[in-house]
Amino acid sequence: MNENDCLLSVKQLEKRYGPHIGCQDVSFDLYPGEVMGIVGESGSGKSTLLNCMAGHLKPDTGEVVFNTRTEGLRDTVTMSEPERRLLSRTDWAFIHQHARDGLRMGVSAGGNVGERMMAVGARHYGDIRRTAEDWLERVEIDTSRIDDRPATFSGGMQQRLQIARNLVTQPRLIFMDEPTGGLDVSVQARLLDLLRSLVRDMNLSVIIVTHDLAVVRLLADRLMVMKSGQVVEQGLTDQVLDDPQHAYTQLLVSSVLHV
């Protein structure tokens, strides 16, 4: 594959907080349909990296090159804020750890799913509503709840609604920040199952940050292991988890019960 096939290309990304390193010297390519997992303990820089890639934080140096629909490869770090904000409501999606951060709590479930469609010009109420119903079904929320506000939903339902709200416009790249993090174990399993089938059925391209190796084992094609802001090991998920090379990865893997 040549560079033009690649969906996202991160080059030499670095972010510092004063003398403290957030992340440093991170480079990788992501191809369409691929799921990249980023693992590490809290403070390892994985969330900083995710936020730099998604345009929430401005990196100090480096490039985040995205293959845009109309103009081909573009560095999203240097593009104008309007362009970047347009990208984040069309081709990109961001799933927050806490559903409250990604949902409008005062707006009905249907309105939450419909917002991104309306933001890009959908103007047919009936169509918007039908699509919203369809998506509620796909994330296993009873369509009779379409006019209820997310505040009346359980934590797992809120997270599934956030996923529906993000996927409805068929984004080409999805950032996920600990999507199962705030949930009970039983709820986690169901959500993980849902995510796996969505990723497969829709051939999604995903960058997922988590401290939970079980999540990446299930979802990720490739894996990056981060420690103190640096990538210490990367490769195919099974390879990294079954035959970890770096001492830190070995420690991570051994500290997890078999999944």
Binding site: R85, E115, M118, R123, H124
Partner: protein, 285 residues
């Protein structure tokens, strides 16, 4: 207050120049809210200080001024503003829409089509159409500059989901030349179609919120809606009891203790000139 103590039309020339600059910018960018250093006026904020400042900045001694509130020339606040300019600018005033060169209005657009020789000045309480979705000025200004208007339709979506209709009956938001979303001031949505392609210059002044915006003549203005729930310029389903008008905006008047009601034109000049032409409704004996 005597006439000599104050400058023509009350405001000093420097202030007028500042307002005119804001007006020029507003005309150049239709629908965009231009910040301006609103002055304290001798009437309270909320009584039309924005409109008064705009009128003061554009009035010339040759102008003929009409002031309406709720469509009527004889409502107390219209009377008060008209006499303010009569006193401070000495301009001629009129109640006849067709004779006026400058019309200051609160909550209505006159029924008779305006001409290129006329300017309509609106009093605006809250200029920001996104305000009740997002209370922060710093955020709404960003939403305008980036054209992030999805939220506006979410509000309309929620209306239909709950009521089966778009439940906004006045201050109904519009899109100007497919760029800025604008608050047309609290006119009933019945008046919204008159905003578009209007021959007159339309100026909007919000004193307390320190904003001026404008629609130059023949600007395209579209009321927000959905394809399958199109905008409707609705009004009471009656005819004017005094002049028989079928297509004017009507006020509902309670006429006795039993709660009997009648409907009459809200635009008093329109109604009177129709009656002067001999047109009558069922109550005009």
């Amino acid at each position: 207050m005597n006439n000599e103590a104050y400058n023509f039309a009350y405001l000093d020339e420097q202030t007028k120049r500042m307002i005119r600059r804001a007006l020029l910018k507003a005309v150049a960018i239709p629908g965009y809210q231009v910040p301006f250093a609103s002055r304290e006026m001798p009437m309270p904020y909320g009584w039309g200080t924005g409109g008064v400042q705009v009128s003061a900045a554009i009035l010339t001694p040759d102008d003929r001024l009409k002031v309406i509130d709720q469509g009527a020339d004889d409502t107390t606040n219209a009377v008060s503003i008209r006499s303010f300019f009569k006193r401070t600018a000495g301009v001629q005033t009129t109640t006849a829409t067709s004779e006026a060169t400058v019309i200051q209005t609160r909550h209505r657009i006159p029924e008779v089509p305006l001409t290129e020789k006329q300017t309509l000045v609106y009093q605006v309480p809250i200029p920001e159409p996104l305000r009740f979705l997002e209370p922060r000025e710093s955020e709404t200004r960003k939403m305008h500059s980036l054209e992030e208007y999805g939220l506006m339709h979410v509000k309309l979506y929620e209306d239909i989901a709950r009521h089966g209709h778009i439940a906004t009956s006045y201050a109904y938001p519009v899109s100007v030349e497919e760029r800025y979303i604008m608050d047309p001031s609290p006119i009933p949505k019945f008046d919204n179609p008159k905003l578009s392609q209007n021959a007159a210059l339309q100026l909007f002044g919000a004193g307390r919120e320190q904003r001026i915006y404008a629609l130059p003549p023949y600007t395209k203005v579209v009321s927000l809606d959905f394809d399958d729930h199109p905008f409707e310029a609705s009004k009471a389903n009656h005819v004017c009891a005094l002049c028989g008008a079928e297509h004017s905006y009507l006020d509902e008047v309670i006429v006795d203790d039993e709660g009997n009601r009648m409907f009459v034109c809200s635009d008093t000049d329109y109604c009177e000139s129709r009656r002067a032409q001999g047109l009558t409704g069922k109550s005009a004996a």
